[in-house]
Subunit: 281 residues, 2 copies
């Protein structure tokens, strides 16, 4: 695996590969790789000639009170995982190379960015969209891979690439879960053993909600049920949102629809956990 | 000259040309072409294998009280001018193709966009940056050409391409002027004969200011002189700004510096005129 540390060399390398007629699959990550990431690499590997991983903990997508400084970093272990996942190139730029002095451009996606996680993390999706646009312009991927756990992020990035006439195809891959259903996430390692056990309630609430909407229960009742279920777990310190949403607009579903996004964000102590499932009726 | 009307065909055409190893020069315009545009084509022609002109009156960069609906349109005459200027491709998309339903992405350049024209045209530069990013992603130019008259726009676009790691090289070309010094502009045709004559005061104020700063007059005095000069012309109905600025930050110059941007925006009746010159001491 080739390790690239500067934007300039990343772009030169991608241009050369494209000139050779290769297809490039990009998996942008913040490192601290887990099974969810590895599944993205597996899919990318099957669909592209060259797989590029990026690791960059993007300061622009963290709020002032969030966990940027303590976001888990383990580059050595990540490199071993990427080698075995068959990644061909690792792009791991430094923050000043990505945001040099005078940097002042931001990309926003109106509407989609304001709801769900956006309501609790102001500026977060602007930071995400901006850095992903930069990575797309540097790695010039044919395809890019995102996890379904971050469904709102994936939708915002798809909207951005379409709106800005970018060439990359964005692919959302299924969430990978632990045995008890907890969605794999780099932040799970923050959980105490008791919190880790209790965290299973997040997926349980989604599964239970999925049964209810399939049985024809009205969205408002399902939302209430999810909130009751999550709040009944004493280690859940805050339910930021939990409910039944339109997967295109992220607005709360009121009437029966054909497709639902069931989505949850809770805090357990200082750890924020999100998860979602899509249900078609 | 090949005329392309859809974003999809524009991108396919550019990709094919790049694969053939051609360099592409893009001159993005809003049509109503004048000598200033033709100079951009001349420069582009000398530096690229293929010259792409775009004509698109971009609704996103006009405010609700601005002249979007009555912005001059004369496609037939523009096409003749482009043919003689040697443009190879004209890209002239329709508004719904550029902003389809659900469009919701915007690009902003903080700081640079808030000052000078930005202070009088809220959202204007967001509209400019967004549409230019789209044109860059569709026409995939090696180089793109902008006029010095719109210096703030050119600087914002340069900042955007750098910040977003885009590959295009942005080139600013000298302002082309009428015999009396008035900067060529599509909006000049709005002027009545009396206004047209009086409009020469804009460039006169810039030339006079340039002499003063070269003579070592302090920026504040030069700014005052420019405002007095412009306001003494009865057909100038409003001086939006006139003064001595830092060409990197667009902040007002207070102390003597090595480089100045002398810049003016006035209204004559309903017509807004801008102009600027750069001075190095």
């Amino acid at each position: 695996m080739e390790i690239i540390r500067t934007p300039r060399i990343m772009k030169e390398t991608s241009k050369r590969l494209l000139t050779q007629g290769k297809t490039l699959g990009l998996v942008p990550t913040m490192g601290a790789l887990h099974g969810g990431h590895l599944f993205l690499f597996k899919v990318a590997k099957g669909e592209n000639d060259v797989v590029v991983a990026s690791i960059f903990v993007n300061p622009a997508q963290f709020g002032p009170s969030e966990d940027f400084d303590k976001y888990p970093k383990d580059l050595e272990s990540d490199i071993m995982k990427l080698e075995s996942a068959g990644a061909d190139i690792l792009f791991v730029p430094e923050v000043p190379a990505m945001y040099p002095e005078g940097f002042s451009t931001y990309i926003g996606v109106r509407g989609l960015s304001d709801r769900l996680c956006g309501a609790f993390r102001p500026g977060h999706f602007e930071g995400v969209a901006t850095v992903v646009c930069k990575f797309f312009n540097l790695a010039l991927p044919t395809r890019a891979y995102f996890g379904q756990k971050d469904f709102q992020q994936a939708q915002i990035i798809k909207r951005m690439t379409k709106d800005l006439n970018m060439s990359v195809e964005c692919i959302t891959c299924a969430t990978v879960r632990e045995n008890d259903g907890l969605a794999m996430s780099s932040r799970n390692r923050y959980l105490s053993p008791e919190e880790r056990e209790a965290a299973a309630v997040v997926y349980k609430s989604l599964k239970s909600a999925a049964h209810m909407v399939k049985d024809g229960v009205m969205p408002a009742s399902v939302t209430e049920h999810m909130n009751v279920m999550l709040k009944s777990e004493p280690l859940v310190s805050e339910v930021q949102y939990a409910g039944v949403y339109n997967p295109e607009t992220f607005e709360e579903s009121v009437l029966p629809e054909k497709k639902y996004l069931l989505a949850v964000a809770v805090k357990m102590g200082n750890t924020r956990l999100i998860d979602n499932i899509l249900v078609e009726i």
